[in-house]
């Protein structure tokens, strides 16, 4: 895509300011119809942010979840972050102002970005560690910013980023608690992920714990 002329840019601003919605970009429209998903089968990415080799139960749970979703005719990819090389974001903004859409680091985050943006639904999975999802998962999330645009927009009276792509996946959060996890922790995590969803043009469809049978979580994704 080339440079939009000034009028087009001005129209963008006006459209963004007035409608404060992504309708123009077809995002909500594209993702709103669960029926469409069920007809054609979804592309689903499960991002496993479990840093502990010893916690095989969590990895096993995600394999069961992937198999259940596969049985429902969805195309599922599990990304095991523990085995991937993802350098923490340095905040250089090359992906916004130098090589738009592309990070300077050529590591496994490239594959993750491609998978993320081509998915209809993404499950972020992590044990709760010190009251939040793992650093392993957070480092991966930070490396997704090439997928959005640096420009700002008005979203329901708050300033957020503009999308770069036409469509972004819906999101679900799958956690396993630590012994100290309480209701307040879950509220904090949920609120932060809801906020993050605004900037990645998504919607947080659920926050579930791995105590819930994988089949039920698969149903929740299937019926979203």
């Amino acid at each position: 895509m080339g440079i939009p002329d000034e009028t087009a840019i001005a129209e963008n601003y006006i459209s963004v300011a007035i409608h404060s919605s992504l309708k123009k970009y077809g995002i909500r429209k594209d993702h709103a119809s669960a029926e469409t998903f069920r007809r054609r089968g979804m592309k689903i990415a499960i991002i496993n942010g479990n840093p502990r080799e010893s916690d095989q139960a969590f990895d096993g749970y995600l394999e069961t979840l992937a198999a259940s979703l596969g049985d429902m005719d969805h195309e599922v990819t599990v990304h095991g972050l523990r085995g991937m090389q993802i350098i923490p974001c340095r905040g250089c903004f090359d992906c916004w102002v130098k090589t738009p859409g592309i990070c300077r680091f050529k590591d496994d985050a490239v594959e993750l970005c491609k998978s993320y943006i081509s998915s209809n639904f993404v499950v972020l999975a992590s044990p709760v560690i010190m009251g939040y999802t793992s650093a392993l998962l957070k480092n991966a999330m930070d490396r997704l910013i090439p997928l959005i645009h640096p420009y700002l927009r008005d979203e329901h009276g708050e300033v957020h980023h503009l999308p770069r792509y036409d469509a972004y996946p819906l999101m679900g959060l799958l956690l396993s608690p630590e012994p100290s996890t309480d209701r307040e922790d879950v509220e904090i995590i949920t609120d932060i992920y809801r906020r993050a969803c605004i900037n990645v043009m998504s919607e947080l469809k659920f926050v579930e714990f791995s105590e819930k049978p994988a089949r039920e979580v698969a149903n929740a994704i299937n019926n979203n």
Partner: protein
């Protein structure tokens, strides 16, 4: 007081977080008997134990970071996880936070602050408060009348902390303005930031025509 400041910006010394800290420190060290030492997460990513040891022996700790995807950067979370063995220990230092973000409004920081304050509780640390500020991307290119105002508040917050050992609520509130913007403000600010902050850098890099590229379009 010997204050241990941990700068969690992935940009290290040349960070907006660092600029805010420097003015806080200026005020703090002007008061008698107070010294601050600054450590960087980014310089210790492979030696997090250095930071954990600094935390263990600190008199008081001030942790700062920029908002990344609505909360702490992943590298900062690595540090928080490295502190887990010290959770609930006797004599953990009192801690406070400085969180800044690039959007014009401070409101975006409130959620990460709530997390950090719960984190302090989890560690068994007394929390002396959070310094929150929006509008901090590209501080070096912002008009001086704006940045001087922020920097003066930070200087005063640092000074008051040196004198009384607390973060002055009234000053924190002033610094945090604007907490939200009106839709009229947003309509003015957004095109300005897009042009002055982003287009100027894209242009300098000869990348303006690639601005809307979608390299991973499925």
């Amino acid at each position: 007081m010997r204050l241990t400041i941990i700068n969690g910006s992935p940009r290290g010394e040349a960070s907006n977080t660092g600029a805010l800290f420097s003015h806080f420190i200026r005020g703090f060290e002007e008061t008698s008997g107070n010294r601050a030492e600054v450590l960087y997460i980014i310089k210790n990513l492979k030696t997090l134990n250095v930071l954990v040891d600094a935390f263990r022996t600190a008199e008081a700790v001030l942790l700062g970071f920029p908002l990344y995807v609505d909360t702490m950067p992943g590298s900062f979370k690595m540090f928080l996880e490295a502190l887990e063995p010290l959770a609930g220990r006797d004599n953990n230092p009192p801690m406070g936070f400085l969180i800044q973000n690039g959007f014009p409004e401070t409101y975006h920081n409130r959620f990460a602050a709530r997390y950090m304050e719960k984190f302090a509780k989890r560690m068994g640390c007394r929390c002396f408060g959070s310094i929150l500020k929006g509008g901090c991307e590209g501080l070096s290119i912002q008009p001086a009348f704006l940045t001087e105002k922020y920097f003066t508040y930070l200087y005063e917050i640092g000074k008051a902390f040196g004198e009384r050992g607390v973060l002055d609520e009234r000053l924190l509130e002033k610094l945090a303005q604007p907490e939200h913007l009106t839709s009229e403000n947003i309509a003015q600010v957004v095109p300005f930031v897009n042009k002055a902050l982003w287009d100027s850098q894209l242009e300098a890099n000869g990348a303006l025509e690639k601005n809307f590229d979608r390299p991973y379009q499925p």
